[in-house]
């Protein structure tokens, strides 16, 4: 390796690309931000100049009304930043527009994954492994107990519960960006053509996905549904709405939740979930370890999540690794 990678510095509030004076997914407003994807713990408002994929910029625009200056960067496009730093945005397979960011400086290559998964997702471009010296990976599900089953199995459990309870509805808690649209797209792919009813907070994001050519079929608002119309239907809402007043309008809802955390029974029970659906937009343990092995970096840096176990795995497999202590990333609802 050429240098000591002093040009890239993990700070508590984000990853600082020193020569470019830019930050990746900073947790507080900065002058120049490179944003991997639109989830609120990665994309925050108030930055001076934002570099991101066009989809991520659109999502941020929807949420924060746009930054002072925006530079859309297409997948695969290599852009020059200050101080001899080049950045390339590569699909991460997490949500619409999500990217890993490859940074190059003085012959050294660093990849920041943001959040990613390897399973197929009809709503976004698939993850592409990129050769690098340092691979900065997320570790949300960095424990070997997390193994996400094939999504078709979970979709079948959802439609099965619906068929078995014709007078009730299944209310699925799902993150408003990414999870909800993926769930809908997978239901459509499985041949489910009935209207799907949405909480109001889901509507604009679903429309944005449709604008980017992702067909989600017949979507309606719960608020517009006449009494009785929800029996035997699927309702999708943010997880926080399910145990709250909003859910009182639903006909005897079966509370479901689409999340990687649903793998653990107690986590599901704590949230009063009756139908846990193990559907995640993050890499599970096998995907994380397989990706590190495939990318085969000189060194792996591990961030936000359960770093310890992945660190241990790297150790057991004679891979150089360190855990970063970044703050502010907590994707409890995934």
């Amino acid at each position: 390796m050429a240098g000591d990678f002093a040009w890239i510095r993990p700070e508590p509030h984000g990853i600082h690309v020193v020569p470019a004076d830019a930050w990746i997914d900073p947790a507080r407003p900065v002058e120049r931000a490179l944003v991997t994807h639109g989830h609120a713990d990665h994309a925050r408002g108030g930055h001076g100049h934002v570099f991101a994929t066009p989809e991520t910029l659109a999502i941020m625009g929807l949420r924060y009304g746009g930054a002072a200056r925006e530079t859309p960067v297409a997948y695969g496009e290599r852009i020059a930043l200050q101080g001899g730093v080049f950045a390339t945005f590569v699909p991460a397979g997490h949500v619409l527009g999500s990217a890993q960011i490859l940074l190059e400086h003085g012959g050294e290559r660093v990849v920041v994954t943001g959040d990613y998964k390897r399973l197929s997702d009809p709503t976004c471009a698939p993850f592409q492994p990129v050769a690098c010296d340092i691979f900065i990976t997320e570790a949300t599900f960095g424990l070997p107990v997390f193994r996400h089953p094939p999504i078709a199995e979970e979709i079948a459990r959802l439609t099965g519960a619906l068929a078995a309870n014709p007078t009730r509805c299944v209310a699925v808690g799902a993150y408003a960006l990414g999870k909800a649209q993926r769930l809908i797209a997978e239901l459509r792919a499985a041949g489910y053509t009935a209207p799907i009813f949405l909480h109001g907070a889901m509507e604009r994001m679903c429309r944005l996905y449709a604008d980017y050519g992702i067909d989600l079929g017949d979507l309606r608002l719960v608020a517009d549904a006449p009494k009785g119309a929800l029996e035997g239907q699927i309702v999708i809402a943010p997880p926080s709405a399910l145990n709250d007043r909003w859910s009182r309008r639903l006909p005897e809802p079966i509370t479901a939740m689409a999340s990687g955390w649903m793998r653990v029974r107690q986590r599901a029970r704590q949230r009063n979930v009756e139908l846990p659906l193990v559907i995640s937009d993050h890499a599970d343990w096998d995907e994380l370890t397989a990706t590190i092995a495939e990318v085969n970096p000189h060194e792996t840096w591990i961030t936000h999540g359960r770093e310890e176990a992945l660190l241990r795995w790297c150790q057991l497999n004679q891979r150089r690794a360190r855990a970063l202590a970044l703050v502010g990333y907590e994707d409890e609802d995934d």
Binding site: L143, P144, V145, S247, Q266, V273, R306, E308, A309
Partner: protein, 540 residues
Amino acid sequence: MERFAALIDALVYTRSRNGKLALIAQYLRETPDPDRGWALAALTDGLDFPAVKAGTVRALMETRVDEVLWTLSRDYVGDTAETASLLWPEPPNEQAPPPSVSEVVALLHHATRATAPTLLAGLLDRLDANGRYALLKLATGAMRIGISARLAKVAFAQAFDVSVDEVEEYWHGQAAPYLPLFDWAAGKAEPPRTDLLPLFRPFMLAHPLEDGADVSLADYAAEWKWDGIRVQLVHVNGESRVYSRSGDDISGSFPEIAAALQIPAVLDGELLVRGDHQGGAEGGAASFNALQQRLGRKAPSARMLADYPAFVRLYDVLIDGGEDVRDQAWEQRRARLEALVPRLDPLRFDLSQVIDAADMDALAQIRSLARDAAIEGVMLKRRTSPYVAGRRTGLWYKWKRDPLLVDCVLMYAQRGSGKRSSFHSDFTFGCWDGDPDAGAELLPVGKAYFGFTDTELKWLDSWVRQHTIARFGPVRETDKSLVFEVAFDSVHASRRHKSGVAMRFPRISRIRADKPAHEADRLATLKAMIADPAPVGGKT
């Protein structure tokens, strides 16, 4: 095993009692013998394989998974069986089909500590994650999925449309996989014989006496309702048992009682602890608080036995010298009981006295004057009533003492579960530890989740939402401005609570939105209500 695993999985996520009953009933109807019997035993913690314990599972996992990864995973998941079920590596080669429940039980029954790990590994290889979870729960005998023995019996009765009282009665003589029980329920066989075994018989229970009920002491006898735990004592063929209200065998917790019963009989009574250690008179009953020292102790020490000696105050006789007298009138049974008591050890047994009152008004006065901490109220028993299982209208009534009242301030509210999952319905309230105008603080004194109507619940929920000052997960801290009138049966000194008091059966009696918080009661008021530890005897 897959069907059983699916049942366990569904039960874990089903909160409503009816939902659980329906799931178990369906399983029992659709599953063949003997699988369903073994499953039933597993659900009610009735299976024990001495060679397989949680330690066996841990040791096995450490041969398959890195120790650090195991520990990190176990810490996160919080349950050994579940962690192991998720971490077990899928075998690379083709496996035999999943085992049946009976096959698993047969294998585990013959396991030794030496063979258990290999055996378990072979079974785990043949199952998926859900199956592995069910297997490990069954093997280690720690289901803990909220299925009581009673719930399982009700489900059994529901599955085959038989009476739960009969199920309760026949169940106790049976061992898993309960084939005679299933045959009887299906109408294929006579009920199993129960007269030669030390079995539990279902209790007769009472309805609360409503205002204006047409009850006259000409037809009803009055007795004290003692504040201990209701027990059934059984002695047959030289064996004695003490059963709790739920039919659990608690002989081990009260060995002095089991040992003292030496005549063939089935008796109904109240288990109490003598109060003399608290400074009371010899022979008196201490408060429920004293009894609590003994409850839940599976094998009490000699010290516990000496400090908190138990005795049973007898109410009724079900079987007398082998003769089932449950069909006889209460008056006849009472005569038999009175004749029987002198043959019992007076240290361990006495008779619950009938209260001598001219009429209901006189009884009401006697009831209101009763200050004994061990008295919960009075019972009214129809003189002609047989001893029948469960609650029957018009036969037995309980007439509790008027509750005590105190004004408390709402401090925290927690969202409920099931139908109440969107409502803040669990309320923690406190009293002032001094003069609130001189800087006194509120200390939590109790928690209640009933006593209000559905309309009041909605009002309370929205009040809590508007007066939240902090949130801790499902719990909200309120601005401490709402006063509740809290009703409770009694209050006791408690070292476990910061306030130093513990209430029995607290419930919200009235919402006092009109009352300013600083006018709520002080802790000293509540402490003054601590039940007088000096007991009185069984007489009025």
